[in-house]
Symmetry: D2
Subunit: 437 residues, 4 copies
């Protein structure tokens, strides 16, 4: 991540109603932000038992307890140790246990074995969080930039793990024959099929892409530098593809017809016997889907979710369209964006399409784009351990844009670049169509 | 297992001081036995947190919580459901979750995924145990043979899982960089090297082998029927091989010299980089070993433990001896056996050799024999699900005899046949030498 | 293998009509034997093209070319190099390429990569054989025991590879969609169902087992020493199980009913989707089988072949019988044996049961026994590389007795112990039933 | 691939001296082209024995024999069957055996099992080629567009396989302990270190990219349509990185320092123990490299070759530069390109840098670019089987530009897009540096 010119602090950083904070000094406002984001992690973990917080259902996913500790380790390692004089490390062993992937920090516990860590227990992790929070409060009293920039980074980092905490426990619960419920479902609205897709037209020309470092507000280094691209004429759908539309693809033999699939995708379809999005299961002639509210009927009015890039691309070809490139997504988002009621606090299955139809390009599912994750022209990773934050993952991944129903409020941005391998399905990932004009 | 003629109830079944029970009616005495064995499982699990009880460190090992539930399911499925009128199953889903391997009972949760079961939690498993225990108490009030036979079987089954509970959590803890301590170590005696091995001589001839069904006392079906074998002259060592002796093998290049190894064993040595027993690790020029009391120095006076059959056989060849066949072990045990103070309640690393030297062939480590696990002549597995208890595992496993420091008091027998694949090392497995005369 | 007292030379060693040889000095007779066995290998390889001789269809199987070279390397390494003064090694690289598993000889080409050896080509392997044969002829002019013993061992070794050459190319051809024909089929006799099984009764008592080293004739070290066993009453079927009988097992759901299967066997049935013996494939409502004569209809009058130990054991349990232990097989063979016309030169699918019904216990399929492969009491492997011949494989394998249609004439013996892992199916392996009386 | 407007035939298509062909009718010239390209395949295969042509050393590589048959099948399937009336298929089984990946054509032999196909033999493959060539000659007498376009496609396809034939046999030979020589080495020039890199500057602006369909000459569909991109200022090195330069990276701990590596690359470095380019091996303190001329000393004046994308990217980061994007490569190539003597007929290890220094951006190694392989804006794969030629591979691969010492004369183009997964090393792949200005 790039610290200079990046973490300019401003209301834009604050995801919550900000009126009351406006007059306070900057470090005070960041203290409030720190408290609220740290508390949100604990709020998300609260419904989960000690056992729930310990299990790991695949190497890509981490235990809840691990997320809680790792985000704390991030503050301890990158902020308290270098900058808070006299800080006493909570437990020296944690540097090995809760380093995720920072080679520069040293060796670490192997990722696929995070689920074997019964110790430290849930309670000791809570103690760890309190220990670090207390020290952070001390530091915040006097901290100035660039330390404040690092704290903002740490908070954005924690927000990313808040979403992962949810996707990872969803995956774990989906593997249990008991299909546990993370949170009771709200009473659902009636199914109302979304109107036909409208197309947002964009004319060919030169467009700016990425975050402008001179602007206010936080962005990750991979969103920078702002640069220029030339785009041909194109159009972008005004909403993601719905379950109902996706079922038409399935009913037309989508999962049995290789002509729609990338070669690697078709290999997975056959090896893994994919015949529907992840978490769907046939129940007689109908489909059910496992959600954080438990097993539910698939709703035709929701955006299709938990599909891989391969499925998104196959659907697009079947539909005679294509997936948008990330630049196309961003340019259209700038033009047609209007914010919408963020629905995630209500439920964790993607919100219905109809309810937010008129509102925004950003939706309740991350949207696969046709762009491989690559550095922007002029990008340079920072030196040192934090330079590993983004840059070293720029291979074999596709960019997703938007946000999901599990993205923390205020964490999304038009320039935000999420990224996952094309076969990944455990994120809240859907897609939107594009076409040439 | 074979129910008729097998589970004759008698003091022989009762592992605890039995004087006080002698005068009571049989079912009352079995009730006491039931209570004490069930309580022992809970006593063994008590030092383990909810998180500890949930993890599974390899497919062969099961979570503590699972052992507690599975042994309960055994009583529910094989005794309460068929024999207690009006019994209400605690949770129908548990039949899927806690069936270990009984094909006749139906499909079951895949073994390698037991560590993904955060639910039911530790507390709900405790409730399950209480529910079943209450029903069992009711049944015991009126039960007669053959139900009492099945209960005795269920209790022996639970005792087997008590030992597995310990070996499995030991394996799990050994994978943690924190090396958790299950139980504080007693103050250890001074190291006193064991005297040289003496040899117990046996003359060639016909010998009876196995449990005599007409005798009192419980035995598993695989210990029967009693039959005759012809043995040539041989001699058996009067104690297992010690750590000190095993280190001489290591120092002589034991793990680098293929001439001592079975071909499959040598392949594992190279693939897994074995250079010492499991749980040993080099600490400078010394060796430490992970135990249920945490990391400790290797003691030369303890029997070598956590070695595979391959290592036992390689050592024997290096030493110019061989491993005993299981018949040879049993015949010598009958001849030279004298009971000894059972040490397991004191500590969970194998007891020192010297302390029990004069006592018995049975020791604090299971002892690999040179015999593949096979049915005795005349063996027939019972019809039905319980016929799966032993018979279907009679392939690719080697017999171990004796008992270990983790074996419940009273669970061992001279005719007892334990069995594991030749590469297994997570059991308390050592070995004793034999030679032709 | 054990050289002393073992390789006493006698007519018993000579597989071919021996009248003409009787009067010649021993080394001359062994020269003839050498020539005929070496020529037989080339005769078996002759129908195979350079490409056929190069491919390797699984790690367990070796290319034809490799068998031809390895058997030659055996003579070069164990006989010519130590005993023929001035012998010049054909190509020093061959010691690495064609050492099968002799750790004492040094490192060797990895077994699964034998199929990558395009060089040396077929013709150069032929040159190698000529080079070694010429040197062997020199040596044979003057050789005496114990060199002659080693030569006899080398010839028995080559005969073992003659059978493997056939089983391995059969496996390779079975993987080709073209189903190549190794040898044109003879005109087959009409199908005549075999008579019901008769049972050969054996009374309980002490019996000698194994090869007596003081007797004439060659035996491998694993057949020795002769020793005594005690057997209970039993009966052995007078012929192997037929395809027709095995189909009744299949029709009764044999491959879908776990109650007949060892646990490891049932796991393979499911993982590999076994539903018939190897090389069978459904053709509408009938079954065909791939043979060295190409694809043919399954004949009900032939012994079932290419079944694993697991299938043999499952069938036996279904039939209310069991598999014989290897001692039982040997004792019955001694009692009821009468030699029969060896059929292998006629065809390479197992001969019909009816044609040889009245003749012998030894048949045209190897017969799985219920005995794990283990050393006989008193067995000691030779020191040095040749000690690796048999001993180091005595784990995780089951003994097969008899011979097959692919066994070279004269290579079989009543005491012969063949051995393969219980899951192996690419050998000509069937089985015979036994029962307690 | 795109047939319309693409395969305009012209001298540009003809890789060989064309003077003599100029006056002949188009189909006649294509007949000559057909003959010369088909003959070139046979010339390349000629040094390889039947055994050499059969082996397959990894799933990504194919046997020589398979390449010869597959390219023939391409003409048979896509041209003769649909367009030559009365054409009789050589062998119906070949459609299954030699279909590479065309799902629309039907099922096919699994790729990793191509090395098990001893049949058809080398000679029968030769017959197949003659059979198809004769039929093609008939067709060529009367063929017109669009059939001629398809034939040109088939010839370009065959040229691609000519290069693969060489890379695949090189990989196979490298796995042999004998290190076979494909072709004797020419006498090598003295080592003359290349001059320092010069940088070709390019100014920011809009640039055309890709093949213009209205131009003469063949191009694959993935090179189209021509479109516009905006590039920032940059500079491109005037030659690839040399072995000598790469050794400086190695000497500086390049393979031990994670800070230079993409995360997936670092994982491979550790798992596969990479410490040098593929085919290099340490010989004391020096390095040797396996080539098609056998094992040779590594020359500091040659371009580094057989490196993965990961190694190229790590080197670039170490050198303070970056890899060029494919658009940058193409634009600089148009500006600075001047043709150079094609060296491949002389040798198959990459030509020395010095000899061609002044000449061209195109060199004797394929050059990794920083661009993921993706469709150009406006790209649509053809309908039908030939639409699978390129489009379905546009995921998880990186684009390489230029050509290699193994690329057939005349097969390269400035717009040519080669592509391989980032971990691939068995192609003749090197790289060139770029930097921002």
């Amino acid at each position: 991540m790039k610290s200079n010119a990046t973490f300019f602090l401003d209301e834009g950083d604050l995801p919550f109603p900000q009126g009351s904070l406006k007059k306070r000094p900057q470090s005070k406002r960041i203290t409030d932000l720190y408290r609220s984001i740290r508390a949100e992690t604990e709020r998300l973990a609260a419904p989960l038992s000690a056992e729930d917080q310990t299990i790991q259902s695949m190497p890509d996913a981490s235990p809840t307890k691990w997320h809680r500790a790792h985000t704390t380790w991030f503050f301890e390692t990158f902020i308290l140790e270098p900058f808070l004089q006299g800080y006493s490390v909570f437990d020296p062993a944690f540097n090995y246990l809760f380093n995720s992937y920072y080679e520069a920090i040293g060796p670490r516990h192997p990722r696929p074995s995070r689920g074997l860590l019964s110790r430290p227990g849930m309670d000791r992790v809570a103690d760890y969080r309190v220990h670090v929070d207390r020290a952070m409060e001390c530091l915040l009293e006097t901290a100035d930039r660039p330390i404040l920039d690092l704290i903002i980074l740490g908070l954005n980092h924690e927000q990313q793990h808040q979403e992962l905490l949810l996707t990872d426990i969803k995956h774990a619960f989906s593997r249990s024959p008991l299909f546990p419920i993370y949170k009771a479902a709200p009473s659902p609205p009636n199914v109302t099929l979304p109107p036909k897709i409208d197309w947002w037209p964009i004319k060919s020309g030169l467009y700016p892409i990425g975050h402008d470092a001179s602007e206010k507000g936080f962005a990750f280094d991979n969103e920078m530098p702002r640069h220029t691209v030339f785009l041909e004429d194109y159009a972008l759908a005004d909403r993601p593809v719905s379950n109902g539309e996706y079922r038409a693809f399935m009913d037309d033999g989508g999962y049995e017809r290789p002509e729609f699939w990338l070669s690697d995708g078709w290999a997975i379809v056959q090896a893994e016997h994919w015949d529907a999005p992840a978490y769907w299961r046939r129940e007689g002639s109908a489909w059910q889907v496992f959600t954080l509210h438990g097993m539910q009927d698939v709703r035709d009015d929701e955006p299709v979710c938990h599909v891989s890039y391969f499925e998104a691309a196959a659907y697009a070809l079947w539909a005679g369209c294509r997936l948008p490139r990330e630049h196309e997504w961003e340019v259209a988002a700038r033009r047609f964006h209007s914010d919408h009621e963020h629905t995630h606090s209500q439920h964790f299955h993607p919100a219905s399409l109809t309810s937010s139809r008129q509102k925004a390009i950003r939706q309740d599912v991350w949207e696969w784009t046709a762009s491989a994750y690559a550095p922007y022209p002029g990008y340079h990773a920072e030196a040192g351990a934090l330079g590993e934050y983004n840059g070293k993952f720029m291979i074999n991944q596709m960019v997703l844009r938007g946000r999901s129903c599990a993205t923390p409020v205020g964490h999304d941005r038009i320039t935000y670049r999420n990224f996952f391998p094309p076969q990944a399905r455990w994120q809240f990932s859907g897609f939107r169509l594009a076409k040439d004009r």
